[in-house]
């Protein structure tokens, strides 16, 4: 055996650098086309699709809305969302627990981004993995439903800490399930002192106006002067 001294090979590269690079490319494409992209994260069943359905229906009156919907299997959500009248496409991830930038790029390859003002990406229902993957979005929104317990933000700090806005969902069920809103907000504030918290219900349309106002702010902040938003 030849003598070889122990050697250190420096790399210093992000493990997800390939995803980050693709996400940066997507972000500049979205920016150039004037699309505001919102990445929606939550546990399964927190009400992403219901909220999106109500949001798309309402927002379509003032801008062009589209959605990419991630799920392990089935196109049930896309079919539900298509009823709103917006442009919708299902992403079936198979066994993957999160969306990655290249999956997003592939699924909107034949879409004309210039025809879209607001694009929602409904991530796979999961409070762990999606937080690590940049999809080129302008904003990341995390949902916490009244039915899943007030301590989720403390159990999944990585996801809640990096959110730009946090939506409490299913507020119409707050009473029956004994949801402690003050405690939930305290837990959210423990890990994310800055993000706005909006209490919503897709069923009763509670908080929908406030949520839409926040979306309009995101659109205006990103495309100052390039679009007229009602």
């Amino acid at each position: 055996m030849s003598y070889e001294t122990k050697r250190l090979i420096e790399i210093r590269q992000g493990v997800l650098s390939k995803n980050d690079q693709l996400a940066a490319e997507l972000r500049s494409r979205f920016h150039a086309a004037g699309v505001t992209v919102v990445n929606l994260l939550s546990s399964p069943g927190a009400g992403k699709t219901s909220l999106l359905e109500a949001t798309m229906r309402a927002m379509l009156a003032e801008c062009r809305v589209a959605a990419l919907v991630g799920d392990l299997a089935t196109d049930n959500d896309a079919r539900r969302l298509a009823r709103s009248g917006g442009l919708v496409r299902q992403i079936q991830t198979g066994d993957m627990c999160h969306l990655e930038a290249d999956i997003v790029a592939r699924h909107l390859a034949d879409w004309d981004l210039n025809q879209i003002d607001l694009l929602f990406i409904e991530n796979v229902g999961n409070l762990v993995c999606p937080a690590g993957y940049d999809l080129g979005e302008a904003a990341r929104v995390v949902l916490l439903s009244t039915t899943e317990g007030e301590d989720k933000p403390l159990k999944y700090p990585a996801t809640f800490a990096t959110a730009d806005a946090i939506l409490l969902t299913k507020m119409d069920l707050a009473g029956p399930v004994g949801f402690d809103r003050a405690m939930a907000e305290e837990n959210i504030r423990a890990v994310n002192p800055l993000a706005p918290i909006i209490a919503t219900s897709a069923r009763s349309e509670t908080g929908l106006q406030e949520w839409m106002a926040w979306l309009r702010e995101q659109m205006q902040a990103r495309h100052k002067g390039t679009k007229t938003i009602a």
Binding site: K6, R7, I9, Q13, T159, L194
Partner: protein
């Protein structure tokens, strides 16, 4: 949850770097993982052993540096390390701080040859 896919990414990047450096075998892999990276160190070690099979990284030791959460405190005008990643409050002035400076890292730092 997704540690196996992270482990495959590490093995792919490292294998390429090892080849470029002309190293046939790697004895240790140094990575940094942040407390907010969503990666669990034990699960990554387990996954890495599987992902490394049949590559120059087989039998390499995965050396993990865990990076705590560091936030910027506007009150103290300083970067402060949080003793607990579930409480985003400045440990000296106790004000809420949300500007994350470190803690999301997921970085392949270096390789060692035998």
């Amino acid at each position: 949850m997704h540690e196996l896919s992270i482990a495959y990414n590490i093995v792919n990047i490292a294998t390429k770097a090892a080849q470029e450096a002309g190293a046939e075998q790697i004895s240790a892999v140094h990575v940094r993982i942040g407390a907010l990276s969503g990666v669990v160190a034990d699960a990554l070690r387990f996954s890495f052993a599987i992902a490394a099979e049949g590559t120059p990284l087989a039998n390499a030791e995965l050396i993990i540096e865990e990076v705590p959460v560091v936030v910027f405190c506007p009150e103290c005008r300083a970067e402060v390390t949080l003793p607990n990643p579930r409480l985003f409050r400045c440990p000296s002035c106790h004000r809420p701080c949300g500007q994350i400076v470190h803690g999301r890292e997921l970085e392949l730092v270096a390789l060692e040859t035998p």
